[in-house]
Amino acid sequence: MEGIDREIHDDWRWAGRRAVLRFRLEETRGVQFEAVLVVPEELVRAGARRIEVRIGGRLLGEIPAGRAGYQAWKQPVPEEWLEPGKDVTAELTADAEWLQGNERRTYMLSSAGFTL
């Protein structure tokens, strides 16, 4: 919905400080939220500590961002937060950002979504 760069580099895109994605699920039981991303050194130097993950406005957890590198973060989503056939938003909010030229950057997002 917002906060994700339109340009695709190989298989990732730059994420903004607040990235929002919208999903519709057929199955809501035993589902996990997964985000695969890379935290660049610049974000760490900018003072980042975490990326907050909210599902439907509720805090699911925090992805550690205090160290540069690849992250595959996965967390079970309580069944009652989701409703089959209804839209749900996932919101990823970083606690810092950095400037590349004039562009505001945070981390490189490979994928985010609901999985088993």
Binding site: D11, L25, E26, L116
Partner: protein
């Protein structure tokens, strides 16, 4: 009839019919036998004939109580008419020295009483209560052979199970165990008589006690296993050979050894070598033909039912979908080196005094086995070592302690011949006392599989059978739970075995056949991240007309390579032109090598089914689709799991009117979205595969996910006992 009596009748009737057939056979063999050996050999020589009769009845689906009773009565009547019950004026064998007469008699009597009580107790041995008698019970319910595709053990030779079936009809589980016990008790007597016959009575008596009193022989020989019977029959083959029995008789008994256990078939080498040494070629031919008579039903049945006469082995030679090659590869490796065995130097102590890693132990006396080499100085000693070596030859393929049982009587004999004669009574007595249940636990600590007690109250059914079994075995309760809560046509998928002979429902244990493995694979695809369809390998090629596409695996990992055990799998193979998928049509011909049976699973549109090689990767494996006409193609996508890092692939195409040619290799891989309904899809696939229920134990790897997300799977718990839970697929 009180249960204890029906047990005794079932076993006694079986042994009596075998003995009667043997008496008639021995009469026709015109073999000069002493009274002491005639009855023993009659039982062992009659057993193959009775087994053959039951095999024929199973093939004719004629196994009914009345038919068995009638057949038994006919055998006994024929034997009566033939004079089998008449006392014969036979010359006795040379007498035993008094010391040995008393020692052997006392120990044999004591161990016989213990063995009969142990065998009469409700059967709870791991293999006996699960597959040996589970399959016998199935044959009994079905009145004969049926193709069982959920249990690879059903494809083993079942010569002894045929005798179990006869006994089971009248006395159920314990009667079958008692039939095995009859062989266990016959063997030491045969060894004794063989010693007397060969001029070594003390060695024969001592060797018989060495075998009889071994903790492993006692527990195995009193369970519904086959090992003691194999040992007894193998010894009888050598006995008959040394007595110059007719080749047809030795052949029938030798072939029966194969019918008891594949590897025991080696015993026919003994008479064969002897006949060949004497250049008795006609005798060789007769013996082999007779051996074929008792051995052949089993490869024939396997060929008809499973397409593999050697099932469940040699599946690369006779490819089939009943047992996967990958299972055989893993199983063979496992059996060659049990968990915990790092070096073969561990074997002597494990086999004799520890027994925890190899499933039982022979007793400390057998640490003296190397002394038996001294017996090589004597002709009899050399013969014993030759027979022992022949029967121990397959041991390297399965190093479990009981797989030495066929060779054990010969090693015992060699030991008795090699040890100083004055020491033999002391050693035999010490071994006999040391083997009484559960004295080994006192001086060896927590040693391996053995009889811990002689449950005489349970044996005589003075204690309730079901309560005793429930106390002894948690799995028994699970079997009763399945019986109580499922319909008669239920198919229950379980991850581990239970004593399935105590339920009439079909239990499909995950690893026990190709069908079960394929069902379990659906479950695991939904369960394990690495097995989910989350990778897409994409071959992009210049647009061209093709009549078919073929994906070839090109990597053959070297032995020891980390990827050596990888299996290749493809969830879906899709063909595209300009981004539009070619619809799969009925004219498509799909094929794979290996596992051509599974090829359609890569074209069924289901993310939980996949074609798998079911064999460790090697160059040349392929999966292909032929379209039946030329189609424009510029892309082939393979939906795959992430558990096959050793796989390297090439794409080949079939040009119109031409052959297969290389189009490209090493496809880039990208992530694919995993459907969130994968669990429910997997359960649906299990249902389509015939599964109605799942039986899980809280220790099973699938327990956590299935119990927590039962609704996502579409399963409902309908009962539990101890740590077992039974789920119904909705």
């Amino acid at each position: 009839m009180p249960k204890a009596l029906s047990v005794l009748f079932g076993a006694g009737f079986t042994v009596l019919c075998a003995w009667a057939l043997g008496r008639m056979a021995l009469k026709r063999a015109r073999l000069e036998l002493a009274r002491e050996e005639a009855h023993l050999l009659a039982f062992v020589c009659g057993a193959p004939l009775l087994s053959l009769l039951v095999t024929a009845m199973c093939a004719a689906r004629a196994v009914y109580d009345a038919a068995l009773l009638a057949a038994g009565a006919a055998i006994l009547a024929a034997a009566w008419k033939d004079g089998a019950f008449r006392r014969q004026a036979l010359a006795p064998l040379p007498p035993l020295p008094p010391l040995w007469r008393w020692l052997f008699g006392a120990v044999f009597a004591a161990y016989s009483a213990m063995a009969v009580m142990a065998a009469m107790a409700p059967e709870m041995s791991p293999d006996g209560s699960s597959y040996h008698l589970g399959i016998v019970a199935r044959y009994y319910r079905e009145h004969g052979f049926v193709r069982i595709d959920t249990n690879l053990y059903a494809a083993l030779s079942q010569g002894l199970e045929m005798l179990f079936l006869w006994a089971f009809a009248f006395g159920r589980h314990s009667a079958a165990a008692l039939v095995h016990c009859a062989f266990y008790l016959t063997l030491p007597l045969l060894m004794l008589r063989f010693g007397q016959r060969m001029g070594a009575p003390q060695a024969g008596a001592a060797a018989g006690l060495f075998f009889l009193c071994s903790p492993l022989a006692l527990v195995d020989g009193t369970s519904a296993y086959t090992d003691a019977a194999v040992a007894c029959v193998a010894f009888a083959v050598v006995y008959l050979t040394e007595r110059d029995a007719p080749a047809w008789l030795t052949g029938i008994v030798g072939g029966f050894a194969y019918a008891l256990k594949y590897t025991a078939g080696f015993v026919v080498l003994y008479p064969l070598l002897r006949l060949a040494w004497r250049k008795q070629w006609r005798g060789c031919a007769v013996m082999l033909a007779a051996a074929m008579l008792t051995a052949a039903p089993w490869p024939l049945r396997n060929w008809l039912y499973y397409g593999n006469p050697a099932a469940p082995l040699l599946n690369r030679v006779w490819p089939n979908d009943f047992v996967h090659v990958s299972f055989e590869q893993d199983y063979v490796e496992f059996m060659r080196r049990y968990p915990g065995i790092e070096s073969y130097a561990q074997l002597p102590l494990e086999l004799t005094v520890r027994g925890r890693l190899l499933g039982g132990f022979w007793g400390p006396l057998f640490l003296l086995a190397p002394v038996g080499l001294i017996a090589l100085r004597r002709e009899l000693g050399r013969k014993m070592w030759l027979a022992g070596a022949i029967l121990a030859a397959p041991y390297a393929a399965n190093i479990g302690a009981r797989f030495l049982m066929p060779a054990a009587p010969f090693v015992s004999f060699a030991m008795a011949l090699g040890l100083p004669a004055p020491a033999l009574p002391w050693l035999a007595a010490a071994h006999a006392i040391g083997g009484i249940p559960d004295l080994p636990g006192k001086y060896l600590g927590d040693a391996g599989w053995r009889r811990l007690e002689i449950p005489w109250r349970a044996a005589l059914r003075l204690e309730d059978e079901t309560q005793w079994l429930a106390r002894q075995s948690a799995g028994y309760q699970a079997a009763r739970l399945v019986e109580a809560l499922t319909p008669p046509d239920a198919l229950v998928l379980a991850l581990n075995g239970i004593p399935e002979s105590y339920t009439s429902r079909e239990i499909a244990v995950g690893f026990q056949s190709g069908r079960n493995e394929r069902l379990l694979d659906c479950l695991q695809v939904a369960l394990f991240d690495g097995m989910r369809p989350k990778v897409e390998a994409v071959f992009r090629i210049p647009k061209q007309e093709l009549e078919g596409v073929r994906v070839v695996q090109t990597n053959s990992p070297k032995p020891g390579d980390a990827r050596e055990k990888d299996l290749w799998s493809i969830v879906e193979l899709r063909v595209y032109a300009e981004g539009v998928e070619l619809p799969r049509e009925s004219g498509w011909r799909v094929w794979a090598n290996p596992n051509p049976w599974g090829a359609p699973l890569a074209f069924d549109g289901s993310p939980v089914t996949r074609w798998r090689s079911w064999e460790r990767i090697r160059a040349g494996m392929f999966l292909q689709a032929e379209f039946g006409r030329a189609e424009a193609v510029d892309e082939v996508r393979l939906l795959m799991s992430d558990d096959q890092f050793g796989v390297q692939m090439q794409l080949q195409g079939k040009a119109p009117g031409g052959g297969w040619r290389l189009l490209g290799g090493d496809p880039p891989r990208r992530r694919a979205a995993v459907p969130l309904t994968l669990r429910r899809m997997a359960a649906g696939q299990l249902r389509r595969g015939g599964v109605t229920h799942l039986l899980l134990h809280e220790g099973d790897y699938a327990w956590d996910d299935l119990s927590r997300h039962a609704r996502a799977w579409g399963i409902r718990e309908i009962g539990s006992v101890d740590a077992y839970h039974l789920f119904q697929l909705e």
